[in-house]
Symmetry: C2
Subunit: 194 residues, 2 copies
DNA sequence: GAAATTTTGTGACAAATGTCAATTGACGCT
DNA sequence: AGCGTCAATTGACATTTGTCACAAAATTTC
């Protein structure tokens, strides 16, 4: 548990500076959860009442459109995964979160997080920063998804999350970029030839 | 000033319940700013150090891509306008905000807002909620922009912000939806005939 | 109110991307 | 090695959307 916690601590300290005793407050609320490849962390149709810090592994967030998976996000080690809107508003989640690799997560429940917020305002600040970060990520995504060509979108992905290309099936990447699997395949072969 | 403030108060109370005395704390930090149609509220290349609540009028947020305006958001009365990333991180803004109509704004500076946060944690909560709201908006936008057809995007706009159609030139709407002016024009004529 | 400017609509064509079908390639299983 | 399964590639063609040119309509300016 302790080696796993240190990665989490690093992540937190990157958002706000926090002394050890404040960090310790969180310990009693955290649980380790392991998800096998292919299994759900969050399931569409339920209320999402937990948020995960990813120790190792890789998850995808997706929703269903006309029966197909539409991937909205890949979440890799040292980042956060949750169904954001469902978690904050405690509404039914429109999306599922599934493990693309065997994954180990540090999980905190909504109710535990609310308690933690009460214990120390520093943790509130953490929550605030996390949401801000998510906002910035989404803004960038709006720009590429909405206004860039398929090629530009693929290049942006290589730029921002190069490891994803290696670890995720091409069909999942295509869905994430909002293009067909075939189009992405053609883009790749063009790039390779260069 | 007071009639204008009451709209702002309503907006705040919709995010968190707040008693009058806490609301009053803000008064000394607020300024009224009027922007004529066509003028900038925020200019690309500068650090955005203010955030506006819109009393009346309409603004668009845009950035330049290959010399063209790309509209990322329309902000109408009773909502907030700012260059979010620039404001929170105090970095140079990639986007400008321009008035599409003569507009009246309640403006608070970054430094004033930070002071207000110190005065009462309730105001911090307001800030937190505002960011959360922005996140939810952006998520919805990622879905339509990235994965819906031009027709679906236009229908979604009619659904969510019907007044925009009446008030904004079609070329600005096209840019907002990530389609060409001509394509949007054709979509409209199809819908009318039905 | 006429002229000038801007915005919008429409046709013809081009480019980008999607769809369908068939093929190839990778990988595990026996 | 051979088989089966699934993922990825490729070709042919359809559809969507973009681009360019120009006309019509609306708006602004004088």
């Amino acid at each position: 548990m302790n080696t796993e916690l240190s990665n989490f601590k690093h992540y937190i300290n990157n958002l706000v500076s926090m002394d050890d005793s404040t960090f310790e407050l969180a310990k009693e609320f955290l649980k380790i959860e392991r998800i096998a490849k292919g299994d759900d962390f969050i399931t569409q149709g339920k209320v999402c009442n937990k948020i995960a810090f990813i120790i190792s592994g890789l998850l995808k967030i997706y929703y269903l459109k006309d029966g197909n998976h539409v991937n909205t996000c890949f979440c890799a080690e040292n980042s956060i995964a949750s169904s954001f809107e469902s978690f904050t508003n405690q509404t039914v989640s429109q999306e599922s979160i599934e493990a693309l690799e065997d994954s180990t997560l540090i999980v905190i429940s909504k109710s535990a997080l609310d308690k933690l917020y009460q214990l120390h305002s520093k943790w509130q600040e953490v929550g605030h920063k996390m949401v801000e970060k998510e906002c910035v990520r989404l803004s960038a995504r709006v720009q590429t998804l909405g206004f860039d060509s398929a090629l530009e979108k693929y290049k942006a992905l290589i730029e921002n999350q190069p490891h994803i290309i290696q670890r995720v099936p091409i069909q999942d990447i295509a869905s994430y970029l909002g293009v067909s699997r075939e189009t992405l395949s053609r883009i790749r072969s063009k790039i390779v030839k260069h």
